[in-house]
Symmetry: C2
Subunit: 415 residues, 2 copies
DNA sequence: CCGGTTATTTCACAACGTCAACCAATACTT
DNA sequence: AAGTATTGGTTGACGTTGTGAAATAACCGG
């Protein structure tokens, strides 16, 4: 009997937990290089083949070979060459922005914002609408109407439409296409990706809204110059996304980036999550309004009013923001100390009033940071126009779709 | 004039900040495969070629080809085959543990611990000594003496000695070999790696001590089954290391993993760093002793005494530990919420008394965690025998050395 | 038009992993 | 004892992919 034991585990060889072993790495190294090349041309402006080679580390010969099919398939276009120095002039390569579009949708409580964006992240049209029914089918209805309106306003051939990207708050498992937990919608394990894809007959990707912002930032924003960065958003809530080593970090179950419920003040106000002194309970819009209501002794319900009074010189209002800045600085210091990223992007609706708390934030950040973590991290404040959330969702779809179709490129095309 | 502008940036093409572009990726994909193969055989016990192929995702043919030079150079050995089922029996492959050794040294305030470890992480000999002079040359003297003693007690041919790994607390830039900040030693930007390498005429790697533990855990411990994990140590201080996607995460400047000074209680005790309510000011050995001193109203200077009294039923002592458990749970919840890792390893000297606080820790962890982050994370408590720190340092050197020499393997050897 | 200079392309080649066929070593069957 | 089934390991031709060196292209300045 013991004889039979020996090979017991042989057929149950499990891959490392959470690891895509080399076997399921569908793309060979070529796909990786094509992707890198595309990203280089996209994010670093028009680029000659030679410069693209320098950036990606490939040889010039390889770049020539890889670029050919990308041009034939219309992903890249050659710009007109422009001389001016001795030697053969470079041929600037550019991404053909009009080649692919995606719809991006930001899902909120009773409202959705949608955009059509091209491959440069430029918004072609945008629309905003309310919807009554927050059930999955209600959302599907809304998305269908939204899509129709968007495509009407900015006609895009179906062929050029890569799909729909959807961003929403909560715990989203983007890889599985499932909304694991959505507090606003009160959803649990809703396979939203399939629901919408079936209805719209288009590719769909879903992702946590802050993650979509991070992906957009990586392709079209400040993140393109850095390999890793953290993104923190402030507004109705507090969000965080991490790009580590060029990849969006999702964690085992896609829940990474939860930042708003870090406890920053153990006897602070009670948070809606039930705990006391969460970051979100101190710095969110409603928290700031509540803080001022409390100290000023009168009811104030909107942040905008606090902002106005702070700018007008009201000390209670200013203090409300300062306290929020300190709390935020403390939490961000914890983040920087833990991960030591080279870049932090501050965004979200709440950042519009950054002048009221950024000094307090920086002071606290400096005070709480260990060694050089704060000094080594560049901090960028990025105002967030309203539709940018939706653009982020579009970017997510664009990346997914383009990378997918690029990897299916062959060069035996010129027939 | 505008004509000249065009190529301005061409020669100053900078690679992405903090990014090793494909160009300086010295190893081709083959090196990567060899490394993966070696790791698979090392961490997953004796393995047949076929099973190794399944784990790494390579074809059986490739494994045969890659394994050959590894055997010829003595990195792997074939075990005696053992039958029992129909079919040709597997030939178990094993890492030849006796092929390579490394010295590992854990540097503390006035004391160093050193070990000799083989490729399986088995400690061959260990030694502990005090040293008076904490200047770099003083440390070099101590390391020289330590090395002599260790090699005397466990004779290892110079050929088989890969080098010396050194672990110490503080902000260490392992890639550069520089101690950026060491509070205990009061060092700033000391190029310790070079200093010791010159003196000992051996390869030397230095790394933050918690990071060395993480690397050891990844090769020889629980981390081998996971692709990502967090390691938290408790003892004289609180440390943290992160392995993300198979790689030790160091951050831009090597300072990542600072965890002890996260503020968990804004009106907690003052920390030695000057802030109030740092995690370390609540859960470190001295903090626990201080907490009990305070509540019991008598001077207690050693944790061991608090442990004894807690076990004897003293409520003050028990409360001191419970409070520490809550604080730790809160901080770890922040960590899990942010990164959502599949595994957390709790270690450090302080973990010996884990029975006194682990329940409080888990309760707080569950309470503070968002969505499924705590449920999705396996928590392992790992007692830390004293020399394990030094073993970690040895592991760091082993990994570095072996991976380096493996990548230089060719298969045209059988001459 | 002639070098001089730099960008791009061509092409033979080398490195590497894989497929499919083949060989090896065992258990089981008759 | 010989044959069959079964599984592991090896071999060699082959396709893919990236590269170096040489060739070619496209501009300058004279």
């Amino acid at each position: 009997m013991p004889k039979m034991v020996r090979r017991a585990g042989s057929d149950a060889l499990t891959r490392r937990a959470g690891h895509e072993s080399a076997a399921d790495r569908s793309g060979s190294s070529r796909d990786h290089h094509i992707g890198a090349l595309f990203e280089a041309v996209l994010t670093r402006g028009p680029l000659s083949r030679r410069d693209a080679a320098r950036i990606t580390g490939l040889s010039a010969a390889s770049v020539t070979k890889l670029v050919r099919p990308m041009i034939e398939h219309g992903y890249l276009v050659e710009n007109t060459r422009e001389a001016g120095v001795p030697g053969r002039p470079q041929i600037p390569l550019q991404v053909d922005a009009a080649r692919h579009y995606a719809i991006g949708i930001k899902l909120m409580d009773g409202e959705i914002v949608g955009v059509v964006a091209d491959l440069h992240g430029e918004v072609q049209s945008s629309h905003r609408m309310r919807y009554p029914d927050t059930s999955p089918t209600g959302v599907a209805d809304a998305i269908e109407a939204m899509t129709a309106t968007l495509l009407e306003r900015s006609p895009v051939e179906r062929e050029r439409l890569l799909g729909i990207g959807i961003g929403l708050g909560g715990h989203i498992n983007g890889a599985a296409g499932v909304v694991v937990e959505s507090p606003f919608m009160d959803w649990h394990n809703v396979p939203l990706q399939d629901v919408i894809a079936q209805r719209m007959q288009l590719p769909v990707v879903i992702e946590n809204d802050v993650n979509t912002l991070a992906l957009a930032e990586q392709w079209f924003g400040a993140g393109s110059a850095f390999n890793s960065f953290a993104l923190v958003t402030i507004g109705a809530g507090v969000g965080c996304a991490l790009v580590l080593d060029g990849k969006l970090w999702r964690g085992v179950s896609g829940a990474a980036g939860e930042f708003g419920h870090m406890i920053v003040d153990s006897n602070g106000p009670v948070c809606h999550c039930g705990k006391r002194g969460c970051l979100e309970a101190v710095v969110s819009d409603s928290a700031i309004a509540a803080a001022m209501s409390h100290s000023a002794g009168r009811k104030i319900s909107k942040v905008s009013q606090v902002v106005a009074e702070a700018h007008a010189g009201d000390e209670d209002a200013q203090r409300a923001f300062t306290q929020a800045g300190v709390a935020l600085g403390r939490a961000i210091a914890a983040l920087l100390n833990l991960l030591n990223p080279p870049l932090l992007i501050l965004s979200g609706e709440g950042i519009a009033a950054s002048d009221l708390f950024i000094d307090a934030l920086h002071a606290e950040l400096k005070h709480d940071s260990f060694s050089s973590t704060a000094a080594d991290c560049r901090v960028i404040v990025r105002p967030l126009p309203d539709e940018v959330w939706a653009r982020g969702a579009a970017a997510t779809m664009l990346r997914h779709g383009v990378m997918h179709s690029l990897s299916r490129l062959t060069d035996q095309v010129s027939a």
